[in-house]
């Protein structure tokens, strides 16, 4: 049945197959296939709606901006109150003792008047009130100095420019309306990449995922989006929670770079939180 030629052929065929399988197993052809699959698996799910959580939380988290605002307010009231009591006592005796109050009395005659109300203050409320008004006006007029002396450069500069980070002041500059506009623009841009796939219409749709996004000025993702919170998770859809956050993050990563107005970058879309609402996006 089997002659010599067939034996030889069998040997060659066997060796050839073994070699072919060895080559395949060593992964020579594997490079072609899965690398793209990593991030581009079929899991693609569409999200159509992106709700923007206002940028407010971010500025709030940053101490500088809010802290200045309260300080600027109160200083005016306490300013007269505190300085008044302070100078009166030292005023007579040690001017040199307190360097800060020292200029006040020197510059202004008021401190001299103030001592009265201060001393009388406990006695007469009316005068105290009237006196307060005065110092207020005066402080407003010249008062940069006294306020300045207490608050330092912060008082003026704090409001206008300087403080600490650029972020603080510019952020305040991007209004809520502008942020809503940004949110709408982002929603449009993310929509094609937010693919719910088979989850469409399931209980997973009630999961709202909030991501913190940070972009570079060129619209590319600076830092991988991180999930801030998820709401709407219940027993029925708990198993989808992770998938929903993946879907949202994938939408962000796939639809990059985003095209947003550059003037709104600082304090606007450089770092913000975005809410992905599947029912609205889908």
């Amino acid at each position: 049945m089997i002659d010599r030629a067939e034996k030889a052929g069998f040997g060659v065929a066997l060796i050839g197959h073994a070699a072919l399988f060895a080559v395949l197993s060593l992964g020579i052809f594997t490079t072609v296939r899965l690398p793209p699959a990593v991030n581009e698996p079929l899991d693609v799910i569409l999200t159509d709606e992106v709700g923007l959580r206002s940028a407010v939380p971010n500025p709030a988290t940053e101490a500088p901006a809010p802290s200045e605002a309260p300080e600027t307010g109160p200083p005016e009231e306490p300013a007269p109150a505190e300085p008044t009591p302070a100078p009166p006592e030292p005023a007579p005796t040690p001017k040199a003792a307190e360097p800060t109050p020292a200029p006040k009395p020197a510059d202004k005659p008021k401190p001299a008047e103030k001592p009265k109300p201060a001393e009388k203050a406990p006695a007469k409320d009316k005068e105290d009130a009237s006196d307060r008004r005065r110092p207020d006006r005066e402080t407003k007029g010249k008062a940069e100095k006294p306020a300045g002396s207490r608050l330092g450069a912060n008082f003026l500069k704090g409001i206008s420019d300087d403080p600490k980070g650029k972020a603080a002041s510019p952020r305040a500059a991007v209004s809520g309306a502008a942020m809503q506009g940004l949110a709408a623009a982002l929603a449009r841009q993310f929509k094609p990449c937010y693919e719910l796939g088979s989850l469409q219409g399931t209980s997973a749709m009630s999961i709202v995922t909030t991501l913190r996004l940070r972009y570079k000025p060129d619209g590319t993702v600076a830092i991988e989006p991180e999930m801030v919170e998820q709401t709407g998770v219940n027993d029925a859809n708990r198993s989808y929670a992770r998938q929903m956050s993946d879907i949202a993050r994938r939408a962000v990563l796939r639809c990059t770079p985003v095209k947003l107005p550059a003037e709104l970058y600082e304090g606007g879309w450089n770092d913000f939180q975005l809410r992905f609402i599947p029912s609205q996006l889908g």
Partner: protein
Amino acid sequence: MTIAPTESLLSPVTLFMQADFVVKAVMIGLVLASIWTWTIILAHGTRLRRISKANEAFEREFWKAEDIDRFYDGPGRSDLPSAKVFSAGVSEWRRSTKGDRIDREGTRARLATSMGVAVAAEVDRLSDRLNILATIGSVAPFVGLFGTVWGIMKSFTDIAAQQNTSLGVVAPGIAEALFATALGLFAAIPAVIAYNRLTHVLNRIEARLHRFADGFHATLSRELEVEG
């Protein structure tokens, strides 16, 4: 839920090890079929080419030979198809011309028949395993398809069981399943190509044998008239 794109994912061994037992059986069968196919291709390809050349050489020798009887005792004894046809003709000739009375017509007919039979027998012998190639070529894709269908069925069962349609769950099973079809095609394509090619070579050999038989028959007929 990302699919780890490990290198091993496409490795045949990995795909095989992960597969269902039915798919495994299909894969083993298809690999054996492929090995068998190539065995036949290599063995018969070389043999047919060798025989074809040897036939040509034999016929050249034959037409140059002066004495048929002496040629018959020499190279005519070989195992070649042409030699077989030749010896069938000579032996029939010897049997028919042994007696005193020679029936020329009958002898011619018998010579033609015996050489035709020899040609047919030789072609049969040469085409021995080609039917296997034809079978593998036509059946292997279906066997592979069966493995694929089975594997995909199993994948869907897994999906149903896990309530999860993510690609990570579905992909491996489908990759294994498709691997069965790949193997089926891997075995079938060479088989079909080789079958067509070898059949063509065999047809040429057969036509050449017929021409040789006819030529020899004509020679013997002439001889018959001379002797008569």
